[in-house]
Subunit: 689 residues, 2 copies
């Protein structure tokens, strides 16, 4: 993907009315004011505007036209595209709205057909345009942003525009900007691929409203993250959970939770909103990478220092005290009034030299201590402090150590000049220390995630392709099916009468558990269809009769018998299909407590050992498995085996929509499935129901 | 408390050197530039500065002097105070540092002695001064803030100063500002009392680094909240948990968690940092109160609308769809392209009239729907939209409905004029819709908390005052003590030999539980000192012998026997003394799972029924008690009884430092204490050890 003509056109035509006050007029004005020279107007009258000549057709321009920006009414767009295609235009940006977003799917398809015919590629329709600051290309109605090295892709035109308007104030510059609108042709996936390679872009920011083509999107994100940081905003969390699922485990996780779980493995960073995105892009675009979690805070005021340390601890960063040798060195350069803990409090008397020297000391090796990974310098200005001098000390330390230093100069006019000096010298300033901490957190998190990025496992081929088989529905069938697939089930027997019951119970060994088998009984426990801890033959006979009664008036096929198991803990394991991302494995520990606390961990299937392990680690309760708080440790290896096998099931059996294993008994040695439900895909069973 | 001379002095003297470049000089300059007229200089040379005359003593001024602002070196402050006191000065602001904050406790005490002698009251020392904008009094070295109706009290001078510098940019004005520094005389409690009554103050903001005099501070907060909103920042979260506690439950809760739990009941709002404080003060100081949780979002751009709705849902606000009659009305005034759900999306074509009419419709009664409780109007500006016109529509709706409307105009210069117009007309603008939502959340939360504020229960008088008694230490003593205090314990027996064991087990009834009794065995379970489910006499005899072996080499006093109990669930209940806030009750549900998830709820003791109920409700798992997810409901009333009784114990027995009841068995009928530990206050036992 080169997109050369799209981002670096030699000439641009604006299609649409260029009368004063019309969109075409403003687009031309914008292009010219932005510094682009070869601009033409294209409209039925051949009308020009400002200094720009007008033509009726791209063919009339008499020079190779690379890009056309279309802002004419929806019904005219196809003609414009046809004309441009015919005359060798390579790319178009279709700003005009009135296509699939209002239900005009056919009109949008037609644009695509025309484009394909001429090998023309286009952005839009229904978009806010594109920007390439290095080429002085501002093909948009939005505010022209300052140039920089962040590329921003936005699914929403308006939000994209707002970000551009805000950029100057926030101190962030852009390399490229694309509002891709309906994404009929060029979409987020291709743009991510392109920006990954773009040498003018150091950070990519992406605003998404929907995660279409889920796994492909994740792949594109992963590839970007391997090269440069990718910051993502995705709205629509509150729609989470609206998806209808049949299985219990599936119903606990919404699509947004799946996205949240999946994005971490791509190396991308999901932020909450625009402010956090700006902060993060400022950090990523100017600072060296943050290699670890140790943060050094130097402040001239106690309060903001403590608030900053609080936030750091909340996020899991380390604000450790200086080692004794480091403390000694700090003591030599700082006055007795200073606190030498971390935060180092220079007090209001802290000088330029104090900032310079203590930052350098904290960030460099001292004895066995390799130096903190990043530092925050906080200056709470007063009208009587020279903020530029303090900034100079900080900038010097940054130059000398080459390590990331972030600043938080508070506030307003008192520190205005200091902030400007910092920015000129590559140190980003944040409104509060807490915000700077969040940036350090995400920067270190990016490095950690990047180191772990790996290709997803290829899914296995389906078993019994095209061969019809009986989908397991009744409990004995389900357990038989699990057993055939090497999933750990306890001994079980199906018994249809009292004689078979006695025999089965003997074979399993008392005490046993007995469950009713009937296609009409779905919630066995609620109906009294499960009897635990049956101790002898008399009990077994009695239980059989009781279960027969439970099914009175319904089809009673018999009972299943299991051994009575006393697990160390119970887990729930589920697999279900997310509409955007496909098969997802869910894991939770601790039965009912977990369900209420929603301590559920999710991962896209299939899983390898490492994935399965980190799926388990993703729950808060996982420490129990390793024997926290005096508990006996469970057999983690067997659990991992189970999770891996479960993760393959929807690929091996495309007929399976969802599977719920709840509870899974965790033992000192091994794991056993206590109860299972398998839900068939609609129309997925090759045999008639 | 009038503080009349402090905040409304007729005249002010500045004590300290007034040579150019010295603090006294800057203070005089500030006072004059702020518009205060009667200013004098006070220093050994009687030197004046700027237009201000200088004197050697307050007595020389020859006019009644109300306030002195002292910025002279620490060692001279007492003389200045003495001179001022002698000459009838009523108040002082001591900016000079060098007292208790650097260990000079004696020097600070002396200031207090002098002040008491002359009935003079003072702020400081080691503070950044005071401001009263309505009186044009700027007795501070910090930036002069714009006037408004927020009062700000800061323990940190530097942070207070930063807030003042930031105020203009953030669009917030102040009525009063006090940096109280070491708070040697006038402190946060008195200032809160004063500001509660101050007619110029609509909102009080407080920055705290430590919560000294915990319960008194809470009382002062409660009284403010009954009258007006109180917004609190408290730093020092990360110090949570540093406090040494002996009991298990106590060790799970830090002082900061206690503060967090306690502050909610005072009606005050604790925010995370300065930005949130500004946002909240802006909302509280200009808007009518938010009476409920239903929010209406009107936007001209989909993306920011969804991000705003996401945040609202996260915070538990309701973003419900308009009722059918309301939707019909909206449909009549809006074009077909608009989404009539909530957020109402006017699209980029949304007009002034669209904003005006849809906001009015959403906030007013329609049929049975009483109208939303608050609205957010989002305008994502483009260079081609008239932001003032949209602002006018919003302002009109605000005037017509009288209900809270918040704006989020994005971003920068495109919306600058619109934002100004909004502000002039009492509508606060926020950088993002998410921030506006947070303000609505807190404003509605304030109303909800205010409605529930109540006086704390008076603590009960100690039992056996002055009478010496044996503090319960061994398990049988502890259970006997709990029983005597009407706490629900199971049957229990102490047995010293095999004969007593048989008898005791018979009396209790098999199966029984047996535990070793030895002053040398602290962690019984870990050593195998607890045997469960003993079924018969042979088992009991065998268990006794085993427990004797467990205590081999230690003092073995015998065993305790209990019935074997199968609870529905287990809880942990603890009471301990927080150094700042005194006795605190902790409650958690679910045993080991809860401990790991830290689903612990805290409340200051003593508790009444309502308190105990809300303590239980404060845990996520509490729904289990009422029978969530097919569980049998527990006996909530008995649990409440237990909690109330436990909450009285540290008052009834001042010798008790902490008590741990873990587990407490929750049954279908009743609750029973399964294990208990009581820790003695050091020196609190009247008998020798």
């Amino acid at each position: 993907m080169s997109f050369k003509e799209l981002f670096y056109p030699r000439s641009v035509a604006v299609a649409g009315s260029v009368s004063e006050g019309k969109l075409g007029y403003f687009l031309i004005k914008q292009l010219l004011e932005g510094g682009f020279e070869k601009v033409y107007a294209l409209n039925p009258k051949g009308q020009g505007a400002l200094s720009v000549p007008g033509f009726r057709s791209a063919g009339e321009i008499g020079e190779e036209l690379d890009l056309v920006v279309i802002a004419s009414p929806a019904f005219t767009v196809k003609e414009v595209l046809e004309d441009c295609g015919k005359n060798g235009v390579k790319d178009a940006v279709i700003i005009s709205a009135g296509f699939s977003e209002i239900g005009n799917v056919e009109g949008e398809k037609e644009l695509l057909r025309i484009a394909k015919k001429y090998s023309l590629r286009f952005v839009g329709p229904n978009c806010a345009g594109i920007v390439n600051t290095s080429h002085k290309l501002f093909a948009t109605l939005e505010t022209r942003p300052p140039s920089g090295c962040t590329a921003f892709i936005s699914q929403s035109g308006a939000l994209g525009g707002a970000v551009l308007s805000w950029a100057e104030e926030q101190g962030l510059g852009f390399s490229k900007f694309v509002s891709y609108g309906n994404g009929a042709d060029i979409d987020d996936l291709e743009l991510l691929d392109y920006l990954r390679e773009d040498p003018e872009t150091r950070v990519v920011a992406l605003y998404l409203e929907s995660a279409r083509r889920g796994r492909k999107l994740l792949e594109a994100m992963r590839k970007v993250s391997q090269r440069k940081p990718l910051v993502v905003i995705k709205s629509g969390k509150s729609q989470a959970g609206q998806r209808a699922t049949l299985s219990h485990t599936g119903s606990m996780a919404g699509s947004d939770e799946v996205f949240d779980a999946a994005i971490k493995e791509t190396g991308a960073i999901r932020v909450e909103g625009i402010e956090e995105m700006f902060d993060l892009c400022k950090g990523f675009s100017t600072l060296p990478s943050v290699k670890g979690k140790r943060v050094f805070i130097v402040t001239n005021s106690g309060g903001p220092g403590v608030l900053t340390a609080d936030k750091a601890e909340e996020l899991g960063l380390e604000v450790s005290e200086p080692t004794p040798p480091l403390k000694e060195k700090l003591g030599q350069i700082l006055s007795e009034r200073c606190s030498l803990k971390n935060p180092v409090d220079l007090t209001v008397e802290g000088t330029e030299e104090n900032f310079r020297r203590s930052l350098i000391l904290g960030l460099t090796e001292t004895g066995e201590f390799p130096g903190y990974d990043a530092a925050i310098a906080i200056n709470v200005g007063t009208p009587f402090l020279d903020s530029v001098a303090l900034a100079r000390g900080i900038v010097d330390a940054f130059r000398e150590t080459g390590k990331p230093i972030l600043a938080s100069f508070l506030a307003g006019k008192t520190v205005e000049e200091g902030v400007r000096f910092l920015k000129q010298n590559g140190i980003p300033n944040f409104l509060t220390g807490e915000r700077a901490i969040k940036v350090i957190y995400w920067m270190s998190e990016y490095e950690a995630r990047k180191a772990k990025i790996k290709e997803p496992l290829p899914p296995p081929e389906p078993k019994r392709k095209g061969i019809s088989w009986k989908f397991p529905e009744l409990e004995p069938e389900v357990f038989q099916f699990l057993k055939e697939n090497s999933l750990p089930v306890p001994e079980f027997r199906f018994a249809r009468d009292e004689e078979e019951v006695s025999e089965a119970a003997e074979e399993i060994g008392y005490p046993v558990v007995m469950k009713v088998v009937s296609p009409d009984v779905i919630h066995k426990s609620d109906l009294g269809g499960v009897i635990l801890n049956i101790r002898d033959q008399a009990g077994a006979q009695d239980s059989f009769r009781r279960l027969k009664e439970v099914a009175a008036g319904m089809r009673f096929l018999g009972v299943t018998l299991f051994p009575m198991i006393h697990p160390l803990h119970e887990a729930l394991v589920g697999i279900y299909r997310d509409p955007q991302f496909g098969p997802v494995v869910a894991f939770g520990l601790g039965g009912i407590f977990t369900e209420i606390v929603r301590d559920l961990s999710l991962k896209l299937a299939p899983l390898d050992r490492e994935d399965a392990f980190s799926l388990v680690e993703g729950t808060k309760l996982s420490q129990i498995l390793r024997g926290a708080r005096g508990q006996k440790p469970c057999d983690l290896e067997s659990l991992i085996d189970l999770l891996i096998k479960v993760s393959l099931m929807p690929f091996l059996y495309p007929e399976i929509e969802e599977m719920d294993l709840n509870p899974v008994f965790l033992l000192e040695k091994g794991v056993l499935i206590g109860d299972a439900r398998i839900i068939k895909k609609r129309g997925g069973n090759h045999e008639p129901d």
